[in-house]
């Protein structure tokens, strides 16, 4: 029997439409033999049927009928790959601007963005938008596939130009770790197999870069532990136990904690994880906590250790707006933050991001797929961290009160690069 202690890396593809994201993921999966024979046969049959050559690798992830007919990715496909030490969760995102909300869906849980761009055309506005969203979402590490090198005869200067463009925008967006790899997803060069066409390149292949980058960044760590209460378990003896998924920092029995927004100070009496009682629990795990004090806490409240989060009915935040109609001040919506749902009012729109310059321009509304800054007033107090401090406690979504559709991604505070 194989070992079962692997770590978990979540990655999302980003980049403009048709630059080769799905082809690259197809190539990665085929060349690392993650596909079963019947799945490969099915991709082959579908390719032949549509007259797109013997094997259109984008069909590995573009599984919907409409996607195959139009040769475009519409929504995220999740695929899984394993190497001896690592499980990968791959989100292949759409590049088209119309589906930006789906790209944000895929990127919101990613540790790492795999940026794909066509070397012939370089960095496009849509690539900039995706990089900006990925950076806002907290991706701090990117692997860039300078793709379609075959189409430019493996011209080193075309690759160097992309390296320059990427380095510039990465520093503008405070992205710390950047690797740019010359690739042909179509032929399979420098993806899993090292290419003979790029003797001037000595860096890693895509798979080597994926295997050596940091895993587990998604949940992230901060100095304080946070347990948003999801569910209250009544114990047989009459006690109450608070259940939720831990984020921020590890927590131990005996830790001094504060129940928020109530402000009650107490101590952790016991911790149980999915395997049973434990003295300590780590981030990303579903746990139950018993507190020393008799408290009256419920879903939507939070147990936290110092430094404590902020309790407020007014927040300023960065908003990615996905609604069909513009977002303007005065509008009422529902806000979901951790396990808390509350009515919210847009008090002010404070600006919109110009994707070309990454600067904030004046605006009094946000249109579909725009990113902007806003002040929001909630009916109930919410317990928040700045998004850059805590990805779970700093994020929220806005919900349309009539259709119940999710219409915005929100991040508490403002990125340093604006």
């Amino acid at each position: 029997m194989k070992t079962v202690t692997k770590d978990l890396l979540r990655l999302a593809t980003v980049g403009s439409v048709d630059d080769g994201k799905s082809t690259l993921i197809g190539r990665l999966l085929v060349d690392t033999r993650q596909l079963f024979d019947d799945q490969l046969d099915a991709v082959q049959a579908a390719s032949e049927k549509r007259g797109v050559g013997d094997l259109d690798l984008s069909f590995v992830t573009d599984g919907l009928r409409a996607e195959r007919e139009q040769g475009i990715t519409i929504d995220v496909a999740y695929r899984y790959a394993t190497t001896p030490n690592r499980k990968f969760i791959i989100a292949d995102c759409p590049g088209h601007v119309q589906y930006t909300r789906n790209m944000a869906t895929g990127a919101s849980t990613a540790d790492l963005a795999l940026v794909v761009l066509d070397v012939a055309s370089g960095l496009k506005e849509q690539t900039r938008r995706h990089l900006c969203i990925a950076a806002l979402l907290g991706v701090r590490s990117i692997i860039v596939a300078a793709n379609k090198m075959d189409a430019v005869n493996w011209d080193e200067s075309a690759y160097n130009k992309v390296v320059e463009q990427i380095n510039t925008i990465a520093s503008e967006l405070d992205i710390a770790s950047v690797k740019v790899i010359p690739v042909s997803a179509l032929i399979g060069d420098n993806v899993v197999e090292r290419s003979a066409n790029s003797p001037w390149y000595n860096g890693q292949t895509v798979i080597e870069a994926l295997e050596t980058s940091d895993a587990g960044a998604w949940a992230g760590t901060q100095d304080g532990a946070r347990l948003p209460i999801q569910w209250v378990l009544r114990q047989n003896g009459g006690g109450r136990t608070y259940a939720g998924m831990l984020c921020g920092h590890t927590i131990k029995v005996g830790d001094k904690v504060t129940l928020l927004p109530q402000g009650v100070e107490t101590t952790v009496k016991a911790i149980t994880n999915a395997a049973g009682p434990t003295s300590e629990a780590g981030v990303g795990l579903s746990i139950d906590i018993d507190l020393e004090a008799e408290t009256d806490a419920g879903r939507g409240d939070m147990i936290a250790t110092a430094p404590l989060p902020t309790v407020s009915k007014e927040i300023t935040a960065t908003i990615c707006w996905f609604g069909d109609k513009p977002l303007a001040s005065g509008q009422r919506l529902r806000l979901k933050h951790t396990s808390k749902v509350t009515p919210v009012r847009i008090a002010a729109i404070n600006g919109v991001v110009d994707i070309e310059t990454l600067k904030i321009e004046d605006a009094d509304s946000l249109t579909t797929n725009q990113i902007g800054l806003a002040t929001l007033q909630t009916a109930d107090p919410i317990v928040v961290d700045d998004y850059r401090e805590g990805r779970v406690t700093g994020s929220f979504v806005l919900i349309d009160e009539v259709t119940n559709a999710t219409v915005a991604a929100g991040m508490v505070g403002r990125a340093s690069f604006f």
Binding site: K6, D7, N102, A274, S286
Partner: protein, 307 residues
């Protein structure tokens, strides 16, 4: 949760994280929705789902019933397991029968040996409507099929029970929001990010029980459509078909006339894990006739309201 001795802290493995994520989803949907239900077939994925649900709410009872859509063509071993597992979990078991939908004239009778798999969608949607369920947990995984690979963890169904793959709600971070209007409902898939191998490694780690047909055993089978079908009430060989006795097991569990057995000597969980680790045919490719009809068989069924 359970009361085993105190553990020493260690770093979280991929199975720990998948388990915690699934428990998180179960709790979130149970809290946000008025009347959830857990779809339980007795197969390995739904067994894992029920196991996780027990963990999520212990020591309380499950805050929702479990429901089986019974085509009437299931393996007896699986039905026995279904009843025993639901009883052991202390769960209320609802069985909605495709036969009832046929008797009520809601779907055409495919005949005594006809394929009933697709009719399930009607029975399922009726049961959801009749019980006013606003969320149904399913054990589907994204690695099973290319249409499932596209589906959200909380997947919205309109008043006709339909899935529209072109208009899915954004699903950001782990902010699963489960609000629906009357008549609409959600499907929730806590095992979305699990692979077949993850499921088996978890079953091994948790020492779970499963229906016996998952393990290698001797059976009378007949070759149809390149699959070994178990000879029985719904698979009656014709005179020109050869009945063979082979050592087989089932990789998935569905209707007896649709689910193929695979040649296998794997009679323990450990041997099954070894077998899957080197398999070159997918779970559904090896064993499910229902996905072979067309390129987008699963997408089409899902649009109609299938699991």
């Amino acid at each position: 949760m359970s009361t085993t001795p105190m553990q020493t802290p260690k770093s979280a493995s991929h199975l720990d994280l998948l388990e915690s994520h699934a428990i998180f989803i179960l709790r979130e949907v149970a809290a946000e929705c008025e009347r959830p239900v857990l779809l339980f077939s007795g197969g390995k994925d739904s067994a894992v789902l029920l196991h996780l649900a027990k963990k999520a709410f212990a020591p309380q009872q499950l805050p929702f019933p479990v429901m089986h859509i019974d085509t009437g063509q299931n393996f007896k071993e699986v039905l026995d397991f279904r009843d025993a597992a639901a009883a052991k979990a202390g769960a209320r078991l609802i069985v909605a029968k495709v036969q009832d939908s046929i008797d009520q004239g809601k779907v055409a009778d495919p005949g005594p040996m006809g394929v009933r798999n697709r009719l399930q969608s009607v029975t399922l949607l009726d049961a959801i409507n009749d019980n006013k369920f606003d969320a149904a947990f399913g054990g589907a995984r994204r690695d099973e099929d290319k249409a499932r690979a596209k589906e959200r963890i909380l997947s919205f169904r309109d008043a006709f029970g339909q899935w529209d793959p072109r208009a899915q709600r954004p699903e950001l971070w782990q902010l699963y929001q489960g609000k629906v209007n009357p008549g609409e409902h959600l499907r929730a898939f806590p095992l979305s990010d699990w692979t077949e191998l993850d499921v088996w490694e978890y079953i091994a780690r948790e020492n779970m029980e499963l229906p016996s047909i998952y393990f290698a055993h001797q059976r009378h089978v007949v070759l149809r459509d390149n699959m070994w079908l178990a000879v029985g009430e719904w698979v009656v060989p014709s005179s020109d078909e050869n009945i063979e006795v082979r050592t087989v097991r089932f990789r998935t569990v569905g209707d007896a006339n649709l689910t193929g057995a695979v040649d296998s000597d794997a009679d323990t969980i450990e041997k099954i894990i070894d077998e899957i680790s080197i398999a070159n045919v997918s779970e559904r490719g090896a064993t499910r006739a229902d996905d072979r009809f067309s390129e987008t068989a699963m997408e089409d069924r899902k649009r109609e309201g299938y699991f």
